[in-house]
Amino acid sequence: MQYSRVEKEFFFRLNGEEVRVRAPPGYTLLEVLRHILHLTGTKDGCSSGDCGACTVLLDGRAVHSCLTLISQVEGREVTTVEAVDEKVADAYARHGAVQCGYCTPGFVVATAYLLSKMHNPSDAEIREWLRGNLCRCTGYVKILKAVESLAGDDG
């Protein structure tokens, strides 16, 4: 079978702005973000839903953008790490939770989602909510500290 590049137009809101983009309908949101829009804060660690590096908010809910087809995003609101409250990223940086940093944007988005749902999560709750995000560098100790530092913070 010969591959032919059929493209369709999609429309959604990205970080508060309306975007129209032409993409093959089989593309994932991650592919659209990275390969077409070149918005690369959202990382690709596996393309199979196993690592969490590609986490974005879809209508405020954390999803793996590598498992989300662009057609599912039509008309909806996507928030990527670039538009997440900077204090989350800042907490990761200050607590030394960033080494190679390739996993970090995914953690930052997942953390923002957790804090939007739970004001003061316990250690066990943080672990449960971040279990889908893998980090190979830090051993998670400082990631936990970073998230704990944000808990109960109203600022």
């Binding site: 591959y3 990382k43 196993d50 900077e86 030394g96 080494q99 190979r136 998670y140 100790v141 400082k142």
Partner: protein, 756 residues
Amino acid sequence: MKQSTTWVGKEVVRRDALEKARGLTKYASDMFLDNMLWVAACRSKYPHAVIKRIDVSRALKSPGVVAVFTHRDVPNNRYGVFVKDRPVLCDDRVRYIGDIVAIVAAESKEEAEQAVEEIVVEYEPLPVVSDPLEAMKPDAFPIHEGGNISRSTRITFGNVEEGFKASKAVVENEYRTAPQIHMFLETEAGFSYIDEKGVITVVAGGQSPYRDHHEIVSTLQLPPEKVRVVIPHVGGAFGGKDDVSVQIYLALVTWKTGRPARFVWDRDESTIAGTKRHASIVRMKTGASADGKLLANDVEIIYDTGAYTALGHAVLDVAIENCNGPYKIPNIDIKAWLVYTNNMVASAFRGFGAPQVMFAMEQQVDQLAYELGMDPIEFRLRNALKRGDVMVFGNKLETSVGISQCLEAAQNHPLWRQKETLKSEKSLPWIRRGVGVAAAIKGFTLGALPDRGSVAVELRRDGGLTVKGSFTEIGQGVVQAVAQLAADLFKIDIEKVEVVFADTGKTPDTSVTSASRQLFLAGNALKKAAENLLNLIREVLTTRYGQKVIEARFENGYVVGPGFSHSFEEVAQMLEEHGLSREVVGVYDVPRVEPIPGSLEIPHLFYMFGATLALVEVNILTGTVTVPKLVSIADVGKVVNPQTLTGQLEGAAAQGLGFALLEEPIIDKGILKTTNLSTYLIPSIKDVNEIEVIPVESFEDEGPFGAKGIGEIGIISVAPAIANAIYHAVRVRPKSAPMTPEKIYWLVKQAGLTVK
């Protein structure tokens, strides 16, 4: 000599952290250039086969395809650091499933992948040699001309038979460890283009820009000045990017097509084709006297290098050097083999051959202590190396040796002191608790191999400094550490120090980022650069003042001496006025030692030491082992940045935990079945519990401000500490890592343990 410092030793937030966390840092995989071609690889269908024919004609006609390359396009189709046994694009044979036969460059990813399917390769399958013990047999099917032993050696000191005769206790065991996969979050990735000066520029995740550069120009036979290698921030490496991956292919595509190209491996390509930690078989017979002195160690080491040698020769040396632990042993006999198989290629992985042998030796030592009725730490302390000691290889240790302090820190730790209470404390009837200890040693720098590092320091017109070196930022924080060292050496505010790294077009050769050497080498080269700059300034001032300026020093952003004080800005201007370069170079050569016969790089002049304590809970019904607490103790010399240090040790501990308990690749006759992160499990935030880090600062005189290396030591003693803790809990010795529930379940069952 100890110097007072402002920045070294201070907890400073890394300068690259916030940008990374906000998603603003550009990694090699984040770049998409105009007019860029996408590269895809046609990989072997068999673990071992003869290539009868390669037909790319259909692929060339496939839509969007610009070029297809095979071995015919590679002028010098063999590469490798120790042995040139690896083809860029396979010609006569494929030797493992990661081997690349052809590459396609097309207008889009999909078109490139589609065209790969159109490439016809006719194979004639050959016998697959997957078991290193089979591969070693004289009648085994040879994977390379010259057979399946890539390297073998034997190193003996003293007489082990005499040693065993004098021993009260002798233990003999065989240990195995599985090949560990690096699983950095960013896979092997890069892009390439021709710059305005016509230079082929390859920007790719790596660890050694000059080595990658060498592999490109030697295989493609390009003039060195026509190729530039840049390594931006790398999304994890751990040794897995020490060898070239995408670099040669990218250079080839851009060279032949003149167009920018992008080559990024999928996760499954990365797990199949990327290098691994060597699978090991280690046999040890170890003897100790009644008063607890180690007397003899008879060792056989077999490391599976897979299809190619890669850095295996050096890895084997590290295994040999470390297999006796941080101990004095008068009699040793070590036989070691690096064996080709049709498995995935093994090469560098944090610890570089040490974790496998220490998994063995530290259980041997533990068992001896139990057999002699001695406390395991007391036993280790009795044998621990001290400064001034003659090591097993006849070399005298004249640098800092912190193993006793590490072991004492372990001994005084509450976890150790309360281990019997913890063990007997009531808990669920099927849970057994135990505490284990293990020690570690690892040479840093390249040992008896020549090891040189250079950095350049530019005094900028604005009075700031730009430090340039080819060290790579793979997540370990070297850029931050270099900035801190420079700020203290030049006595300048850290905000004024810029660091430019890993670019063969801009930075001098600081050589490879491996063997925990970068901080040490770059730091010492910086020291030289600071001296050189001062000398230069003295000369300029001498000319200027018309009298000899003998004394000058850096102070608070100024150069001061008797009767003068000039800001860095003024000095920069003066240098220009005198027609001098504002850039100085510092070169540091690690003092040379002679390699012992039979080795390449043994011994080292410098060693790091460490110890790990582990608390485990063994579920005797399921065989599951959990680790509520790990204590990582490390002698790393002076700590440059506590946050970076603890981060390195915590990360190493978690990787060690994965190696110990979880990470088990399934390989069926050379074919990897666990090619993604749902089948090959690395520790998640739920698997890692408390990790406590205790740095032991043993000052190293030769190190910059007393610093040693930090990258690797933390991983080495984790698996044996967990194994020893399992023994303490259930009195069985798990001799095969990872210590999966299945293995532990059967061991516990054989031992007849039952629920209380």
